[in-house]
Symmetry: C2
Subunit: 385 residues, 2 copies
C-alpha cells in the first residue's frame, strides 16, 4: 500500500518508515507526526474538491493518512455542528461565540476522530489487537472502532470511571480492566499488556495517527467559517492531541493556500485547577510539564497528570499568542449548566471552555471584538453517575 | 413572515392557515401536511444548490417550513452517517446493507429532526411554552430545542422511562412529569396541560412540522446515495412520522426532478410483538389500526399503542409494496447486540430493524439482490437502566 506522506519525529526530526505499526521515534522517544507533500497535493486539492463528498472527516482524505482508494475504518466521525451562542457571547462580552459540538461524534466524544485514523492505519499495518489507557472517552471510542474493524480491544481505565462508559465499552465487545489509579497508571498496564501480547498500543501520541484524526477539527471549523478562522480557540486539554492537531492543520491549510497566512487564532488551553500541569508549565515559562501529583477533578477527561506531547502543546500556545488557564470544578460545572440551558448537552470539559472564556475576557486575554470558538468535547449523558 | 407553502389536511384536504400555531385539521381532526410549490421551487433549487451549505437538515431549506432568510432553531440535527455493514449483509443474504445512524443527532436520537422543525415554526407563531408526551426520545429532544429557543418545556413520560433520559430532560431545564401509564396516557395529560396553560402541544402529528423534520431522512439518504434510493427501507415504527415523512420526501423529490419516478423503495414497518398495532392492521387489511391493549416491550420507542397517523403509515406501506412485521424483544436485542459488535451503538429499536431484515429475507419479502437501509433511531447509552 503506497502512502504519500512521511513520518518525522517532532523532536529530533528523524524519519520513521510508515510500514507496519510505528509508535514513537525509536531514536528519541518523541511523538511522530505525518508530513504530507502539500505543494504537490495543492495542485489538485482545493476547497471545491470537497463538493459532494461524504460529511465526515474523511472528506479531507488527501491530507489524511490514507492510501488512494483505501477505505478508512469509519463510523461517520466528524462533520459536527458549529453552534452560535449569542446569549453567552453577550454575557461574556465578545463579538461572537461558537461551540463546536463534538459530543455528536460516534460514541459521543471527540475521541472518535483520533481512533478512526489510528485504527485505520494500524489494521492496514497488521495489528491483531488494540490496547489503550483511557480516562473514559478514548476507551469506548477504541472499543467501537476495534469492533468495526473486527479486531479485539482491551482498555484500562481508572476504577472510578463512570459506569455508563464502562458498560458501553463492554457492550461494544471490548475487554475492560479497571485500575486503582489514574490514566498514567493505566498507561503502564497497557504498555505491559502490549509487550506481552503484541496488541498495538494506541495511547495518545504514542502512535502517529490519532493527532491526524483530531486535526480535522481544524479543517472543519475553517470550512464551516468559509475558509477563515476565529480570533481565539478555547480547548480543554488532557493529552493535548486536539491542540497539536489543529495547530498542524492551520499550518497545512496555509501551505495549501486555503487560508491567508499569519491569521491563525490564539490557542487557549483549559485545565481543571485540580490537575493543571500545562498551566503550571506555561506560567513558569517551562518547555515541558512536570507530572501533576494527586490529580482530582470531576472532569475526568482532564484528569491527565502528564502528557508525552507537552512540549508540542506549550509550543502551539506560545506560537499562537494564547495562554493556559485553570478553572475550578465549581466554575466548569456552572458553565456546563449554562450550556445545557441553551440546549447544548455539554460535558464538564465543555463547560470548562466557557468558564475559561469568562476568565480570559475578564483578564483581558480575550477582547470585545473577538470571535471565539469553545469546544464541547463530549456528551453530558456519559458523565451521569 | 411570508411562508411559501400551504397546510392541507391529510384526510379531508381542507386548507388551514399557516399563521399562529396550527394543530390538526379543525374540520376533521386529521394531521395537516405542508405542501410546497415544487414546480416553482424546482426552477432554482437543484442538487447542485446544496454545495457548500451547512451539513445539517436545513441544507434542504427550500423544501422546509422556513421563510426566506429565517434562521431555524437548530442544534445541528441531521447530516447523520450512512454506514455499510458488509458482514451483516452477508449473513442476511442481501446485496448491500446500510445503517442510517440517527443516534448521532442532538440528544442522540432521530427525534431531534422533528423537534427542530416544530419548535422553529411554533416559536415564530408565538408559542410561549411547549408540552409533549413521550416514550423518552422525544422528551429530551423537545427539552433541548425549547431551551435553545428560550421557551419553557414540560414533558409527560411513563414512570418507567429509563432514568438517564429523565435526568437529561431535567438537566436541559425541562419540567418532567412521570405518569403511571403508557404514552397515550401521557398524551391525555399533555393535552389537559396545554388547554389549561396555553402551552403548545407538540405531540406526534398533532402539529404539522415534526413530519417535515423527519422527511429530511429521505432527502439525506437520496443525497448520500448520489440521488438514488435503496430497494427497501426498514424502519421502527411508533408514531410513524419517519415513514410518513420519508414517503412524502420521495414524492417531493420526484416532482422536483431529483429522482427518477417509479423507483421508490419498499417501506417496511417494524414493531415489537409486545405492541404491534400497525402489524395487526396491515395483516387484516384495515385502513386504520385499533389501539393495542397492555403494550409491553423493552424497546420503549415502540411502546406506542395507537397513532393518529395510522392511515398514513399503512398507506405508505401499501403504496410502496412493503409490509409490517413484528419481532420479539429477544430477537431485537440479539440484533442490537450484533450491531454493537460491529461498532454501531444501536438502541433496541435499531436492533429491531436488523431482526426484521432477517425475518423479511427468510419470508421472501426481501431478496438477494436488494440494497437495504435499516434505521438505528437512537443511542444504546440512553437505554441503560
Amino acid at each position: 500500500m503506497k502512502l504519500d506522506f512521511t513520518l518525522i519525529c517532532s523532536r529530533c526530526e528523524r524519519e520513521t518508515d510508515t510500514g507496519g505499526t510505528p509508535n514513537v521515534c525509536t531514536e528519541c522517544g518523541a511523538p511522530l507526526l505525518a508530513v504530507y507533500p502539500l505543494e504537490e497535493i495543492a495542485k489538485d486539492f482545493r476547497p471545491e474538491s470537497l463538493e459532494g463528498r461524504r460529511w465526515d472527516m474523511w472528506r479531507y482524505r488527501e491530507v489524511m493518512p490514507l492510501a488512494a482508494d483505501e477505505e478508512p475504518v469509519s463510523l461517520g466521525e466528524g462533520g459536527t455542528p458549529l453552534l452560535s451562542l449569542p446569549a453567552s457571547a453577550k454575557t461574556a462580552g465578545v463579538r461572537e461565540l461558537l461551540v463546536k459540538e463534538e459530543g455528536l461524534n460516534p460514541t459521543y466524544s471527540f475521541k472518535a476522530r483520533g481512533m478512526s485514523a489510528a485504527v485505520t492505519r494500524a489494521v492496514a499495518g497488521g495489528a491483531k489487537g488494540f490496547v489503550a489507557p483511557s480516562a473514559g472517552n478514548a476507551a469506548d471510542a477504541l472499543s467501537a472502532y476495534g469492533s468495526r474493524a473486527g479486531v479485539p480491544v482491551r482498555v484500562y481505565m481508572p476504577k472510578d470511571t463512570p459506569p455508563l462508559v464502562i458498560a458501553e465499552c463492554r457492550a461494544l465487545g471490548a475487554q475492560v480492566e479497571l485500575i486503582d489509579g489514574v490514566i498514567s497508571d493505566c498507561g503502564v498496564k497497557a504498555r505491559e499488556f502490549a509487550k506481552q501480547t503484541g496488541y498495538f498500543d494506541v495511547s495518545t501520541l504514542r502512535e502517529p495517527y490519532r493527532v491526524e484524526g483530531k486535526k480535522t477539527m481544524g479543517y472543519e471549523i475553517a470550512e464551516q467559517l468559509g475558509w477563515s478562522l476565529p480570533d481565539a480557540i478555547i480547548y480543554p486539554t488532557g493529552g493535548g492531541t486536539g491542540i497539536i492537531g489543529m495547530w498542524k492543520a492551520f499550518a497545512e491549510m496555509e501551505t495549501l493556500g486555503w487560508l491567508e497566512p499569519g491569521k491563525r487564532p490564539r490557542m487557549y488551553v483549559v485545565q481543571s485547577s485540580g490537575c493543571a500541569p500545562m498551566v503550571r508549565a506555561w506560567e513558569s515559562g517551562a518547555e515541558t510539564a512536570e507530572p501533576w501529583k494527586d490529580p482530582e477533578t470531576i472532569a475526568w477527561g482532564l484528569r491527565v497528570p502528564g502528557a508525552i506531547g507537552d512540549f508540542l502543546i506549550l509550543r502551539a500556545v506560545r506560537e499562537s499568542g494564547g495562554a493556559a488557564v485553570a478553572v475550578s470544578d465549581e466554575d466548569l460545572l456552572a458553565a456546563a449548566d449554562e450550556l445545557l440551558h441553551h440546549g447544548v448537552a455539554a460535558c464538564p470539559e465543555g463547560g470548562a471552555t466557557l468558564a475559561a472564556l469568562y476568565r480570559l475576557r475578564a483578564d483581558g486575554h480575550i477582547g470585545p471584538d473577538d470571535k471565539v470558538i469553545c469546544f464541547n468535547t463530549g456528551a453530558w449523558i456519559k458523565y451521569v453517575e
